[in-house]
């Protein structure tokens, strides 16, 4: 019987297995292969040692990614909680509203931010009209982080919401009955119970933020190159697959570490949602 189900399982899993071999395992193999070879195909560590040059860029990417992730968490947590408290009809509408911007292409949305933020843009035109004058917003680190927060906020709200919607109201009531004030309830009941959502949210925002390249080019004016920009340039402009692959490899290892770290401290055996 056992054997039978396992055969069935295998059959069901096979399309995904094939998919992952073709589009995850094989590309990973290529990334590793290119990382340790030169353009002639000979083994070398040169690509890895060359990376020292990009330390600042790596650090900047991580710094921007961390900032964007923290801002997303701070913004998303109350929103998710509020959505979870509403009636189920309202919940559906609100979740749809959170998703709404994602129906439009990411590149177009980012490009529009350029028109909003620039010196002759919508905000500054308005500020000039009311006499405040132009405030320089585009081509600053703030604009890049804003772009990240704007684009990745739904990835934080959704896992938080899905955890909070499942939260048992009676647990909160019990805490209140036992004399916990509001802060106690949030700190000792809601926060620990929503930890799996926080963990997935952090990962889902941090990973794309660290590796993004379009946002920094359009909103940072190319003056704040992130590691994603460097990778893109190696493949698109310089035709240096080897260096591009080695940067990607190091980035992947970094992300893997931060994910392992996150899972370790947020969910002890509880597992993440999504």
């Amino acid at each position: 019987m056992n054997k039978k189900t396992s055969l069935g399982n295998r059959l069901v899993a096979s399309p995904y297995l094939l998919w992952s071999v073709l589009f995850i395992v094989a590309p990973m193999f290529f990334v590793i292969y290119y990382s340790f070879t030169n353009s002639a195909g000979a083994f070398t560590f040169e690509n890895i040692t060359e990376l020292a040059k990009y330390t600042d860029t790596f650090l900047r990417s991580i710094w921007f990614g961390v900032l964007a992730t923290i801002i997303c968490l701070v913004l998303a947590y109350p929103i998710a909680y509020i959505i979870a408290q509403t009636s189920s009809n309202a919940q559906r509408t609100l979740v749809a509203l959170v998703m709404l911007p994602m129906w439009m292409n990411f590149l177009i949305r980012t490009y529009s931010w350029m028109a909003i933020l620039q010196d002759t843009g919508i905000i500054n035109t308005f500020l000039n009209k009311i006499g405040i004058g132009t405030i320089r917003m585009i081509n600053t680190p703030g604009a890049v982080i804003l772009g990240m927060v704007y684009n990745f906020l739904p990835f934080m709200i959704l896992p938080l919401y899905s955890v909070m919607a499942k939260l048992d109201k009676s647990v909160i009531e019990a805490a209140q009955d036992l004399g916990g004030n509001r802060l106690d309830v949030v700190r000792k009941v809601i926060l620990p119970l929503s930890m799996p959502g926080i963990a997935s949210g952090l990962t889902m925002v941090f990973v794309p933020s660290v590796s993004t390249f379009y946002i920094s080019q359009k909103l940072g004016g190319g003056s704040f190159d992130l590691i994603g920009d460097v990778i893109e340039r190696q493949f698109q402009q310089s035709y240096n697959y080897n260096l591009g692959a080695s940067i990607s490899l190091v980035l992947m290892v970094l992300i893997l570490f931060s994910m392992a770290f996150l899972t370790k401290f947020t969910t002890e055996g509880e597992g993440m949602v999504i």
Binding site: I62, A115, T120, R136, N139, G142, S223, V230, Q237, Y239
Partner: protein, 415 residues
């Protein structure tokens, strides 16, 4: 009189197709096949604004389906072709890239018997260094890069590339986001050939570009249109033809060929070795240089035409345009890019990465205020400290939480 005219017309209608058929008997066999074309963006008359849709015209005339793709610069095009997996029949890269592709055996020789319209190409554009025997390419369009500026923002008309290093226009300067063109401007200022293979020259160019970074508002490709037209930026190096497009939307814009010299380029049509439909590709190249099609393209893209039939045509509205056909063309210092050896290319990419990731004087809000005399080490350190603080905070929060968690757990266990 009328009768004669109509007879003549009728004759024309009948004989022209006959002539075409007799000249190229194999055209019919191509009917129903597909031709893939890879060209720069916004670089063909595409039917918008009442212009002639050149690709559609080709399709109806020959019954060959045209699949048309665009690229944003030569390097992107090269990477795509070199990477494999795609097949194009016609490519329209620039001079130095053609030279590189010839040297890497990525292009095939053209059969000029199938491209009789090559006779219209101005002799100025024959035998150029990138294709000395004229075996691989037929010029499509030519031009020069120059300096575009907004007369509302830049009061004294610039004559030199050094305007792009002018403190007064800090954060209103756009720079071209492409290493080859960016280095060429730095080299022009330094009085070095764009095609230098001396490492020190490239390093000097990189230093010059780093120095400029504090003044640069943004590194741009196509965004230059939006930013110059809206008045967001004061100065930008870009192509003469594109300036005319921008000027239509913002009459305050002006254009100059800087005195240090400019890069002149020739974009030419060629056929890659991986082409699937060479016969149709040659037909297309010939078609593109036929006088009326070349005229439609020249009118639409605003770049200078290498086609003598276009230049001689009375209807050509840009014939006397001083921007694309400057009067002082002979005194203008121009240099065409040539292909750089692999070691120099590698150095250039690496230096360009350095320029782009350089933040010694990067424009953060603080050091714009405090004049740009801030030293490299100072700001470099501050950014590092920021990062360390950020990472430290992250790790700290994590550690505190872990401890908190274990303590809670212990407590619970004790209870």
């Amino acid at each position: 009189m009328k009768k004669i005219l109509s007879i003549m017309l009728a004759l024309c209608v009948f004989t022209v197709p006959l002539l075409l058929v007799s000249a190229q008997t194999d055209v019919e066999t191509l009917r129903g096949s597909t031709l893939t074309v890879y060209n720069w963006g916004e670089y063909i008359s595409d039917g918008s604004d009442g212009s002639l849709n050149v690709n559609k015209e080709f399709e109806t005339r020959y019954g060959i389906k045209v699949v048309y793709d665009t690229f944003e610069n030569n390097e992107v095009m090269y990477s795509k072709i070199k990477g494999g997996g795609v097949n194009y029949d016609v490519l329209i890269p620039s001079d130095y890239m053609i030279e590189r592709m010839i040297s890497e055996k990525m292009l095939q020789k053209l059969d000029f018997a199938n491209i009789p319209n090559d006779k219209y190409i101005d002799s100025k554009y024959k035998g150029l260094p990138y294709d000395p025997q004229d075996e691989y390419s037929v010029p499509y369009s030519v031009g020069m890069i120059g300096l575009i500026y907004n007369t509302k923002k830049v009061l004294d008309a610039p004559t030199s590339w050094t305007a792009l290093w002018d403190k007064r226009y800090k954060k209103e300067i756009l720079m071209i986001n492409n290493p080859r063109d960016a280095f060429a401007i730095a080299h022009a200022v330094l009085g070095i050939s764009y095609n230098t293979t001396v490492d020190a020259d490239w390093k000097a160019g990189a230093e010059k570009l780093k120095e400029q970074k504090a003044f640069v508002q943004s590194y741009v490709n196509d965004e230059v249109f939006n930013k110059m037209e809206s008045g967001e930026s004061a100065l930008a190096p870009y192509y003469a033809g594109d300036f005319l497009t921008m000027q239509e939307n913002n009459p305050d814009l002006a254009f100059v060929y800087p005195s240090e010299g400019v890069n002149a380029f020739v974009d030419a049509m060629c056929i890659p070795t991986s082409a699937q439909n060479k016969a149709a590709a040659e037909l297309y190249i010939n078609f593109m240089q036929s006088p009326e099609i070349a005229l439609a393209n020249a009118e639409y893209i605003y770049y200078a035409s290498p086609n003598t039939a276009v230049l001689a045509n009375e209807d050509y509205s840009l014939k006397d345009n001083e921007v694309i056909y400057p009067d002082n063309a002979s005194t203008l210092k121009t240099e065409i890019f040539s292909n750089l050896p692999p070691a120099t290319l590698k150095l250039m990419s690496s230096l360009w990465d350095e320029v782009k990731t350089y933040e010694g004087k990067a424009i953060t809000e603080e050091n714009v205020e405090e004049d740009n005399s801030a030293t490299e080490s100072k700001t470099g350190l501050s950014s590092n400290t920021k990062t360390i603080i950020g990472l430290g905070a992250f790790v700290g929060v994590a550690a505190i939480y872990l401890i908190y968690r274990t303590v809670q757990k212990k407590k619970r266990e004790n209870v």
